[in-house]
Amino acid sequence: MPGTTSTPDIEIIVEDIGGGGGGLPPSFGGGDDGDGGDDGDRRRDWSASPKRYSTAIAIGLVSILMFFMALASAFIVLRRSSGVWITVHLPFVVWPNTCVLLASSFTLEAARRRLFLADLRGFRKFWLFTTVLGFLFVAGQLIAWRQLVAQGIYIASNQASSFFYIFTGAHAVHLLGGVFALLYVLAHKFRETGVSRSMAAEIASYYWHFMDGLWVFLLALLYLGK
């Protein structure tokens, strides 16, 4: 991976007393990738390691997981304690929709493999396909909502329906964030230094697969909990 930090070779650096900045290659000027900080040239020769993005996504995912776990535990507690639980049958469209999302994970990996083989055209094709599948999934969720509304089941109808709307809504918002990340990786001009496209693609893929797995978990919860 490009631009890994100097953490492993700390002991060697300790020997290298003379040059303070000697251990780090001069890297990008910051400010080209969203959060680099662009306060003029005062940090020209210093910039944070690009590895921070993958660390951030790992920690951020734990936090997102906690958010959904809190909702899931609320679901389980209410399901058990409520005497008025009215079963909501999942709209049929969620099943093909789930297949769409699962397929998107495979196309994403296919795209990354093309990128690894330096086949940029193939990468763009599969990456775009993944993005389209992502949009399709969100559209499918909207159709699921419409199907429920057609049956007269609204968010406030009963607790089970509230949970269906909240789970799907919160997941869709997070997934849309992922779709924008995909578009960013597709459209952004990556420079020689700093974060490479393959690294950005890798980070986006973590998020995407996580959203994929999260949806399967939520669906299982809704299905088994009805």
């Binding site: 930090t5 100097s6 953490t7 700390i10 650096i13 300790v14 007393i17 040059g19 303070g20 900045g21 251990g23 780090l24 969203g34 959060d35 680099g36 900080g37 306060d39 005062r42 940090r43 210093w46 944070a48 390691s49 590895k51 921070r52 660390t55 951030a56 920690i59 951020g60 734990v62 936090s63 997102i64 906690m66 958010f67 959904f68 776990m69 809190a70 909702l71 535990s73 609320a74 507690v77 209410l78 304690s81 409520s82 005497g83 008025v84 968010i155 406030a156 009963n158 607790q159 509230s162 909240i166 919160a170």
Partner: protein
Amino acid sequence: MANDDSGANHEDSPQGGFLSRCVFSTDHKTIGLNHLWLALFSVFLGMAMSLLMRIHLMWPGVHLPLLSSLGDSPDRFAALTTLHGSLMVFLVLTAAPQAGFGNYFLPLQIGAREMAFPKLNLLAFWATVASLIGLTTTFLIPAHPAITLWIVSVAVFCAASLANALNFSVTTIDLRGQGMTLPRLPLTVWAWFINAILGMLIFSILLAACVCLLSDRLMSTHFFPVLSFVANQPAGAIANAVPVLWQRLFWFFAQADVYVAMLPCLGLVTHLISVFSRKPVWKERLVVLALCGVGVFGFCVWGEHMFSSGMNPFSPLVFSLLASSLGLPATILVLSWFGILWNARVQLNTAMLFALGFISLFLSGGLSGIFLAGHDLATAAAVSDDFVTGHFHLVMGVAATFSILGALFFWFPKMFGRRLNESLGKIHFWLTFTGVYCVFMPMHWLGLMAHTNLYSGSRRAAIAAIVGPVHTFITVAILLTVFAQGLFLVNFLWSLVRGERVLECNPWRATTLEWSVSSPPPADDFGATDPVVYRGAYEFGVPDVAEDFVPQHLAPEQIVKARESGE
């Protein structure tokens, strides 16, 4: 070291314009300072509110300016209490030690020149400001929209805290300077780091709870059913545990938030004690483990608040054990503090006094906490909670404030290039220290006295007779303590402008990296060369060196050279 103008100077910087240099600057020092200003504003607002509440409790008939309706309406009083609590807990105790001092000093202490995501940092600060404005507005508008606004503000604060926590943890993991291995991290950084991880977990839970609550209020869902909903259900269908869900989610957050407020304070206090005792931290690795332990146990004790609300009969036992097991890391910390202080030549300046005051408050608050971890009293305390009020104000509110003040006296020279006045500081310390004990210790008694219905007849009457005077005593003590804070405000503002100038980089002869740069630090933190770290953060009392300490950035050759030239 280049002594150019710093982004830290909050007041009129000559070039660059106020907006770009202070308001929209992504510099971690500026953002940290802004968080501290926000906390300073909130703490005085919150204190004024506690004063109002106390005056109203004592003299309900008194006409208060702007708040004339307070006397007639319980709603207004509840709003006042809520606002006092939210301001103090969220914007002072949660934000100041972590977002304030953390933003300013975490990168400086680990040898980074910036936080990992500076723009996210700026966004988080402005979200915090928005949440402060929202929280304060709730007091001025009618109750129904006010509650919705309060929830939205808390949700915004959660989002800001999540962004901050992400920034802190990534910065600590990935941006450490050369040679700054994990064992060499100062304990302040450890505390900020563990706290950030804990914050990542609990603030998303509170955010989820807020989302459910908002959807209940705005879209009439029934996650946390209100009475009207319950009344409409068929008989027998009402689960006895309906509001319990909210309590669970809330306490999951709130109990852990106590530790979110305390963790950075524990780190700060250990740091201060080591510096001013001129001794290394006793059992430093064990202290790091203890800080981790506080984080882990703190995350697990949420159920301790559920004793009185119908949980599985076995779970109180489990949570009671967990709550008591928090005693273990706390004991390790206390032992370490005494281990440092043992036989030390303590420098009793104001910062150290506040650190010692923290230990005292932590011990006495912790002792009353042991009573509360016992199941019976906690159940009883749910009825009348003077004991609980006394307990958590002493250990969470005041103790944390003491460590914040200690840190301020310690880092003021670095942040502003001037010292706070020591004499005024000491008078302020002693007044506050005596004051808070006079306020919160009698509150413990009141709580205990409320549970004396075991007694009968004359004894009960005798107890009832002293309750009134005790209340008056508390009110007078609060008035005096609050006015003593005026002394601090004067000291702070006066020292900003006229305080004794600090010309050297390292007035306290401390070891960590922030003392290797000029005061206030240059805009790019470390000037031309990146700092290199050669040793741990607490090398005090080292023999054979000119002074009794070795800074982290000093190369072994330089020490040898200094030794030769000294001899």
